[in-house]
């Protein structure tokens, strides 16, 4: 940021949001053209999705375990440890699953997308593609955007499954909450549409779309210098985190 003029910070931010929105429309318009690069989309899906599985699974497990531990501690004051299964599931489905997955996704995949496209820009690879009549939007930007959009809900589902496994591991296996009570309370309270579909499918798909858009946009509009790439990568993480948490509030208010 310091490299840029500090005046009109708000106007700059608004301009960035507007440009990112217009860029998003350009990407959507280019989706049909990128269909001939479907193989590239699969390769990107492998890179942003499958390669992110390890970090998502480990983090999901630990988030679930710490939830189980904290809830056991608090609920045992009221003699209500039986409710910990319900609370773990609802907390993970509704908030922690989509939000933490999106934050991890921005850090793991968003940055690498920005850096990769930014370096392509800095080393004139995008210009070279245009010279060869290959549309860089359709070949570079859209496959990465689509891959992020598809990968986020799937990663979120894996995160939630591991989170509940972690909560079960701590609550039932270590701390001795009754297994049947844990599951029966969970299944009695958790609703497919209000909790699972709203959380895993809708929220994480929206987060996936926004994070991927920010990552691709920041990379595509990088100043073609090594410093520019560094700033763009930082901005991807900062903007994604703010967008995820702000959108989470808005989505929760609408989906409640």
């Amino acid at each position: 940021m310091s490299a840029q003029p500090q005046r009109n910070v708000i106007a700059n931010a608004l301009a960035q949001i507007g440009e990112a929105g217009l860029f998003g429309l350009t990407l959507l318009a280019a989706v049909p053209r990128s269909m001939k690069h479907a193989r590239e989309t699969v390769r990107q899906l492998w890179f942003v999705g499958a390669m992110s599985l390890t970090i998502i699974m480990v983090c999901g497990l630990f988030v679930g375990m710490v939830l189980g531990l904290q809830l056991y501690y608090v609920l045992s004051i009221f003699g209500g440890t039986a409710a910990s299964g319900t609370v773990v599931a609802i907390a993970i489905y509704r908030e922690l699953g989509p939000v933490v997955t999106a934050l991890l996704f921005a850090g793991r995949a968003g940055t690498s997308i920005t850096a990769e496209i930014g370096l392509m820009r800095a080393t004139d690879q995008l210009a070279a593609m245009e010279m060869m009549a290959v549309d860089p939007i359709a070949y570079v930007a859209v496959p990465r955007y689509l891959a992020g959009l598809i990968a986020m809900p799937l990663l979120c589902a894996v995160f939630c499954a591991l989170g509940i496994f972690g909560g079960h591991l701590v609550g039932v296996t270590w701390l001795g909450i009754d297994n049947g009570t844990f599951w029966s309370n969970m299944t009695a309270t958790v609703d497919v549409w209000k909790d699972v579909v709203n959380g895993i499918v809708i929220k994480s798909a929206v987060f996936g779309a926004v994070v991927s858009l920010i990552a691709v946009y920041q990379g595509y509009t990088t100043p073609p210098t090594s410093e520019g790439v560094a700033y763009a990568t930082t901005r991807t993480v900062v903007a994604s985190s703010i967008a995820i948490l702000a959108l989470d509030f808005v989505l929760t208010a609408f989906l409640m």
Binding site: Y93, L154, A161, D178, T187, V190, V192
Partner: protein, 282 residues
């Protein structure tokens, strides 16, 4: 080409894993999963009141979990809740005079079915019924007995839409459930104060299925657990005459106010008050 194939396979695996996780979560951790059954045999028991017992709640013998509650339905003829217990086949030797009771884990904990062994030589058969049961204890009933406030009815008022009058409805609001034997059978349509008689008139809308409620049944405002929401409980009487549309229920029991009860307790139990009071003033 081989490298291309390897990432394609990996991506496919990733997509399959993601959808498998989603399918597992959607079917196994939500209300859809309640149909799951293991190798077990089933026994039925009728309870006058199941309290907060839920499906899949544990069934315990001597404190050891032996099975779970498979289903809870209201049997309108017996005016009791019919609870089906799925018990592990290893524990199938349950004497037919055993007692099934509904207990609560702790003060606020979940409810479960406890079976106390009887002495009979005959075992209860697959699909049989445990005749001897003890219903869930309502906190209000226990407190009511404790304070001598009258177990069933301490207030005479007068009403398919049914009417019932309470001197105090507590936090009861329109939409609250009406339960018989712990199973919801209707809801509260309206609660309004009567400007002449200076009490609360509650309109109950009850499911047509349950039109066999004796006219000497009592209506009471109960609370789910210690801090739960309030509901109207109907305790069936023994009269051969049934309540009809527009009737008023005569026997009612108002909501117990926790503050009142604690107040009475503090006034009656003066030693504790005297001990506490000086300490408070110092």
């Amino acid at each position: 080409m081989s490298q291309r194939n390897s990432y394609a396979v990996g991506t496919g695996l990733f997509i399959v894993l993601g959808f498998a996780a989603l399918a597992y979560l959607a079917t196994q951790t939500t209300s859809i999963a309640n149909t799951h059954q293991g190798a077990s045999y089933t026994v039925q028991a009728h309870f006058a009141n199941i309290g907060q017992l839920k499906e899949r709640a544990p069934v315990k013998i001597a404190g050891v979990r032996v099975g779970q509650v498979r289903s809870i339905v209201l049997d309108p003829e017996k005016e009791a809740a019919e609870v089906t217990l799925a018990i592990d086949e290893r524990y199938s030797h349950i004497p037919d005079d055993s007692v099934a009771a509904i207990f609560t884990s702790g003060l606020l904990g979940d409810q479960y079915v406890g079976i106390q062994y009887g002495n009979s030589n005959k075992d209860v058969a697959e699909g049989g019924t445990l005749a001897r049961t003890k219903p869930a204890q309502q906190l209000e009933e226990m407190l009511g007995k404790f304070f001598g406030a009258g177990g069933v009815a301490d207030n005479l008022g007068g009403s398919y839409t049914l009417k019932a009058r309470f001197s105090n409805v507590g936090a009861l609001s329109a939409g609250a459930p009406v339960k018989m034997a712990g199973v919801p059978i209707g809801s509260v349509a309206a609660v309004h104060a009567d400007p002449v008689r200076l009490d609360a008139e509650v309109i109950l809308v009850i499911d047509k299925k349950y039109d066999q409620i004796p006219d000497d049944s009592a209506a009471a405002v109960f609370t789910s657990g210690l801090i739960g929401t309030q509901y109207v409980a109907i305790q069936p009487g023994g009269s051969p005459e049934m309540l009809k549309n527009g009737d008023e229920m005569v026997l009612t029991q108002s909501a117990m106010q926790l503050e009142d009860l604690i107040g009475k307790f503090l006034v009656n139990g003066s030693p504790s008050e005297q001990k506490d009071a000086p300490a408070g003033k110092q």
